[in-house]
């Protein structure tokens, strides 16, 4: 896979990075990513993945753009209110970078469709807004050994965890039990500044790029916690659980390419 002249120019400011290379760029171009949710986290995550030159990008969201989304979901603009989010995101991302193949999935990701959606992906970026969906995504990625970047944001608090199933702690290892419904406020109840979610979604894109290219050190077995109000950042270690129902029975992954 070679890079065209226009790709060399488009990606020149990342190609000159000492840690980056033509080979890393080609790995990114040959990779397929799925972003679950085209909202507050998914907007920056999908934008930076498309801009950086991932080869194929699927965007999953069943919702329609609402006026109250716009303060935190910068892929969706005022004239887009009423449009389907996955379709609108695909349109915007395609204009940003026509080198990327964009697949909109205008569906609610659930236990029935998740296996087919993540199948063949090289990374999944979970930008969903519910604990239930995170466990569904985590379990499917573990079953198929697809690397995963999890994140959550609530108010000024956020966290990010990257996962290589069978090698590092999965979301269920780190957070074994789902909070009872109602005990944790949803984003809608808690509120969020768009820029806070933007920080977390950008970190997710960066983690996905690291997992896809081997550049840098992803947050494996390490949970990054950010308090955006004070900008205090903490990294908390986590580890695999032998009795994890999602990944406990996975051995070390076979070496691919």
């Amino acid at each position: 896979m070679t890079l065209s002249e226009s790709e060399l120019e488009r990606y020149s400011r990342q190609l000159v990075l000492p840690e980056w290379s033509g080979e890393a760029q080609e790995r990114l171009k040959s990779a397929s990513a799925i972003v679950v949710g085209a909202g507050a986290l998914g907007s920056p995550a999908a934008t930076y993945l498309a801009a950086a030159g991932v080869g194929r990008l699927g965007v999953v969201d069943e919702d329609v753009v609402e006026l109250s989304n716009l303060h935190r979901q910068p892929l969706h603009w005022s004239p887009d209110v009423g449009r389907q989010k996955a379709e609108n995101a695909a349109l915007k991302l395609g204009v940003l970078n026509s080198e990327v193949a964009i697949d909109p999935y205008p569906v609610r990701l659930d236990e029935q469709n998740v296996a087919a959606i993540v199948m063949g992906a090289d990374v999944v970026v979970d930008c969903s807004d519910s604990f239930a969906t995170r466990y569904v995504v985590n379990d499917a990625c573990c079953a198929q050994r697809v690397p995963l970047v999890e994140a959550g944001v609530l108010g000024f608090q956020g966290l990010v965890l990257s996962i290589r199933p069978g090698e590092s702690a999965c979301y269920r290892c780190a957070f074994p039990t789902e909070p009872p419904a109602g005990s944790v406020p949803s984003c809608r109840e808690a509120g969020v500044l768009g820029a806070t979610a933007g920080v977390l979604g950008s970190i997710q894109a960066l983690e996905a790029i690291k997992l896809l290219t081997g550049v840098g050190t992803p947050l494996l077995d390490r949970i990054l916690q950010i308090d955006a109000a004070s900008m205090e950042q903490t990294i908390v270690s986590t580890t695999r659980r032998a009795d994890c129902p999602a990944c406990g029975r996975l051995g070390a992954a076979p070496q691919s390419d």
Binding site: L3, L8, S12, V16, P18, G22
Partner: protein
């Protein structure tokens, strides 16, 4: 041994360095890449970038020879 040559006159920074970096990736350690660069920023900046990446660099006028590390 000389393994490649690039005429990068008219190619500004950092595109000239992008092309050199990608050409070097395809060479073996010890191979030489000779590039022709414009005076000014290219001739000032590219040899420094190559040295910072650990390659041996010799400058002769507008010709820069880079030995891959």
């Amino acid at each position: 041994m000389t393994a490649g040559a690039l005429d990068l006159t008219g190619v500004a920074c950092p595109m000239n360095w992008v092309k050199i970096k990608l050409a070097l990736e395809r060479l073996a350690p010890g191979d030489e890449l000779t590039v022709r660069l414009d005076p000014g920023e290219p001739l000032e900046s590219v040899p420094r970038s190559a040295r910072e990446d650990g390659h041996a660099v010799a400058v002769d006028g507008e010709l820069v020879t880079i030995v891959k590390r």
